[in-house]
Amino acid sequence: MKQTVLNEAHRKAGAKMVDFGGWEMPINYGSQIEEHHAVRQNVGIFDVSHMTVIDVEGPEATAFLYQLLANDIKKINLNQALYSTMLNHEGGVIDDLITYKISEQKYRMVVNASTREKDLAWIEAQITEFDAFMQEQTDNAIIAVQGPNALATLQPLVDLELQEIKRFYAAYNDDMFIGRTGYTGEDGVEVIVPSEAAEALWQQLIDAGAQPCGLGARDTLRLESGMHLYGQDMHENITPLECGLGWTLRKHDETYNGAEALAALREAGVQTKLIGLVLEGRGILRHDQTLIDGDGNQGVITSGGYSPTTEKAIAMAVVDKDMNPESLQVQIRNKTLPCRVVKLPFVRNGKSLIED
């Protein structure tokens, strides 16, 4: 199994390690729920070094990304970040990613670990038509610092004023790349550092009061925030239009990969949508549980679990577009239980948005 440079530090901190897409990663350091609360109320740190960093550079870097990505790379400013899907020609989602604009001719993409090989192959094949080149950046670690006290905790360790980095923008501190982004719904940054500097930074953050958090808490935090997980809430056999990611598509433009397929789908009519669910009564909603309403409309939970902040079972689900929220039920083992449809996200700024 592949290991990040922080592997030893995780073991010292008592992490329970698991295989995550070929990487040995911490799932928790004791209690996933405590880690979750630390991020909602204070500050937590995550090793996400397994994610893949790809730099794209050249006179046609922008033109290339304008074709590769379904969001509008031309609308972001210098140092700004953009969330986008990368689609195949059928409109299916190859991956979702964040792209930072480093300069007029250089961008940095951060893609999922589990999709690394196919992403690289796809990007490599696509870039040949452009005067641009790509380079995977491997000799680094990525540490996410997340929570209401994230910036204050990192601030003494850097020279620039973190509050001056706008949300969804990035800045350099020497060889440390700091993006004010995250996957928890809280304020915070994701820091890309050279491998040799990672362990010292990790330890300094712990000494400053940050709670090490595993992939378990990362998943419940992103679910509460209504953020999609690649491989569950989207994949190659569903388009952004069908799973609640229509907002990430650039409009009135059919030049990006997959755009024609999406136009045809719009024409024919999109048949499914993404909804947020809360279980009424006792139990836990899980990935792959099926949904049905009184009219026979169906659906499936794409991400579900226990939400530590709301203390409820919550889920995101892809359902038939006419699903009746009044008669919606979930099948859990041998029981059928009622669910309530709620707006996403479930949690914002550390507070539950679910009405009782």
């Binding site: 378990g216 419940t220 679990g305």
Partner: protein
């Protein structure tokens, strides 16, 4: 190494049994099992009065990570269920052999008590997994 009390019997599916006398046994899941599951957030208890065959699914323990079935360790009838787990399922994490007990079962006469594991056998069975 997880704690495995000497005075209890065990199953390979990580239940423990405490002999309460008169053929009644108290059942829970082991410390090892709760460590593997992580934070427990929901327990579906067996119904009191319900009869089960050995290895029947009779309840569910769900953690933040996954759902795990609880099995009837031997043939018998459930006589009590720990309803405190409905509001405080984390008792299984905090006190797996005591406050986190799950149910009590009165064994049928033909229950195969010999099929249970001793503490030593159970320790050996989890040694490879730890």
């Amino acid at each position: 190494m997880s704690y495995v009390p000497d005075n209890l019997k065990y199953t390979a599916s990580h239940e423990w049994l405490e002999d309460l006398g008169n053929g009644v046994y108290r059942v829970g899941i082991t410390e090892f099992a709760q460590e593997q599951l992580g934070d427990i957030v929901f327990v579906e208890l067996p119904e009191v009065g319900e009869s089960y065959a050995q290895e029947d699914e009779c309840g569910v323990v769900e953690s933040v990570k996954t759902a795990s079935d609880i099995y009837a360790p031997l043939v018998g009838t459930v006589t009590a269920a720990n309803t405190a787990l409905e509001d405080t399922p984390e008792l299984i994490n905090d006190s797996p052999f005591d406050d986190g007990w799950i149910f009590e079962i009165e064994l049928d006469e033909d229950a195969d008590i010999e099929s249970l594991l001793s503490a030593e056998d159970y320790r050996n069975s989890i040694a490879d997994e730890e």
